[in-house]
Symmetry: C2
Subunit: 399 residues, 2 copies
């Protein structure tokens, strides 16, 4: 039997996925499982987007342009103008989700062995994309005690060497919910400029910002226009994960030209998702007001509940719909499995993501979990109650 | 400005795309351009598939399973049973087109520097996918004089070394239309077995087989079940290129497990495309009978027309909807550009694909073009007339 590639062997398996069989078992045993483990929103996809897909009237579902349907890219420029981001349709390459756009970006900027700096904890699949491209992730730790703020410049400078090509930042952050300030982005700008690096900025949670704060896009930074590559997606914005539509945006013509070559090789992004995404840009403002209120309330439930549990701690996340919480537990993988396998409260339990999956060092994140607040407030409250009761009886608790 | 990756620099630009501005100019000048340059069928997508998409009733368009919607994979097993290919839903990983499925296969089997043998001329994007994965294409030439038959075993053995990991075959073939026989596939089986290689078999044109012949799938080969990876797509079968739905199928559990890790990193394939593709499996048989008759007639028009032109030659292709023809010209890139820029007959011209794009050596394919017969017979006849007249006056003709 021929061998599997080394790259394939290195591809990580998500610690969340390892838990799926235990969740299935719990459900088979008749238990209700609250899913706080994934970033799949429960919010309805805007009708305006679904209707556009229902009304698709072409007789032949053709390949679209490799960079995406032109009318969609035009409409996207309108969307970005609302955020004072001035771009042209030619500066956009549409991908099958932010995932593919990120692969285009990494393949365009990094060769095998090149290094990509990412603040840890980070979205687990970043590592998968890097391995896919043969690139190496160089993590810089941010800690729960500082609320997951940007690490000091000195940490970046320690990590930079002749193989460093890019810094990747997710803002607002998955998994921490951290919202980077203008000042923090300016620090990144200075580093990027000094070492002539790419700044890949994943801003798929742009709309999910709380406490009346404003999101500050890396696209606003002056003097590094050729360095910034914006990654975006409609998955969370319009609760349209199945559309598989994201994009790469940059003012760097060489990056655009190269990303387009990768895009041409795979022919085109999905047509129906683009049709829906184009219509979604006209989603009424009230939709977002309602969604934001909902997530704001959910965040408060999670944060307040966690912080009232003895030995537990959760910083106040200002964006996205995740928190990373510290719990009084010995091993988050073991705890999350135990929740599904051995625990229930009123015949209910909760599925969380062990934070170990968001760190590159196996020793990190052992007393942390990521909670996605993608359930309605009433359900979230019950889920938090479950967690509270679980922490009282978990055999590996450290309180 | 930071550098572009070497890999990005190596990514090929398609010679067809270079012609697009000239086609646009010809159209602006009021000329009709017959597009024989692309594999975009003009056949209508089956209504049954479009209706399934129109009737999509879920309120939230969620991520599907990373390996594809389960009911779709189940339905796919039914489709393959019609061709005596017995597989389970667990042996399928759905991708965003054959393109993504191929990337999964190459990344799973080949590390940077590993070699992939492909019979030349070949589908240009194979090279792009290989570069994407850091792998190296080792071409084996098949010639127009032998009708693009499989080269002799000795050619394969000359190409195999310690870095060889896989042979990739496209059957029926794009760009040549060649249909590999059972005997040729058994030769491939013997080589694959002897050197313990993967056999990646792209069978997206399975249904497009003429002259009453039968397609022989590499999945039928005995004794190399763990070596064969089938790549498939709904793009051509149901004229549904914009669905972006393909798949990877194998009985090799390690390959499946690894391909799934790549699939999990990008979360899921497009939902609407899968919904349409699932319904399309119930497309009435008559659809294919009609489509096949249509393509059969088109092939005959192209083949007979070419072979009646002085100094031109076209083997009789038995599958897909392409032919590679030899023309009495000095340089196919120059000729195809000239057709758009300087030639018209009754204010009409024709856009062809220079065959140079399907060879890895820049010296090859200079007197060959690929013709996609994706137009109706009446239009094809006019396009062939254009070509005939063009050959009479082309300044670089070699007759």
């Amino acid at each position: 039997m021929p061998k599997i590639s080394k790259k394939g062997m290195q591809m990580p398996e998500s610690p969340i996925r390892k838990l799926v069989p235990y969740a299935d078992k719990a459900k088979k045993a008749g238990r209700k499982v609250y899913h706080l483990n994934i970033g799949q929103p429960d919010i309805e996809t805007p009708e305006i987007a679904l209707n556009a897909i229902r009304n698709f009237s072409q007789k032949v579902v053709e390949y679209s342009h490799s960079a995406g349907i032109y009318s969609y890219r035009q409409k996207l420029t309108e969307y970005y103008k609302r955020y004072d981001i001035d771009i042209t349709p030619e500066e956009i390459v549409v991908g099958a989700g932010a995932s593919e756009a990120l692969l285009f970006a990494i393949n365009t900027c990094l060769d095998p062995g090149d290094e990509l700096i990412i603040g840890e904890p980070f979205y687990a699949n970043y590592n998968g994309f890097a391995i896919n491209a043969g690139a190496v992730v160089k993590p810089i730790i941010s800690t729960i005690d500082s609320g997951f703020a940007l690490p000091p410049i000195s940490e970046f400078e320690k990590a930079i060497n002749e193989r460093t090509r890019a810094i990747l930042v997710c803002n607002p952050n998955n998994p921490t919910g951290y919202l980077y300030s203008k000042e923090e982005l300016e620090i990144l700008r200075d580093i990027v400029k000094k070492y002539d690096l790419y700044l890949i900025t994943d801003e798929v949670y742009r709309e999910f910002v709380y406490d009346g704060l404003q999101h500050y896009s890396a696209m606003y930074l002056k003097g590094i226009e050729e360095n910034v590559i914006l990654i975006d997606s409609v998955s969370k914005r319009y609760s349209a994960c199945g559309f598989r539509v994201g994009c790469l945006i940059t003012r760097n013509k060489e990056v655009l030209k190269t990303a387009l070559k990768f895009a041409q090789a795979r022919l085109s992004p999905p047509t129906f998702g683009q049709v829906g995404a184009e219509a979604a840009i006209d989603t009424p403002k009230e939709y977002f007001v309602r969604v934001l209120e909902e997530y704001h309330a959910r965040r408060d439930v999670v944060m307040e509940s966690i912080n009232s549990m003895p030995g537990a701690f959760c910083p106040k996340p200002k964006g996205a719909f995740y928190v990373v919480a510290r719990l009084p537990i010995d091993d988050s993988d073991r705890f999350c499995k135990w929740l599904l396998e051995d625990f229930h409260y009123n015949n209910e339990t909760v599925m969380l993501a062990p934070a170990t999956g968001f760190y590159s060092h196996p020793s990190k994140g052992k007393d942390e979990v990521r909670i996605s607040y993608v359930l309605k407030v009433e359900e979230l409250k019950k889920a938090m109650k479950c967690l509270e009761e679980a922490l009282k009886v978990y055999p590996g608790q450290t309180n």
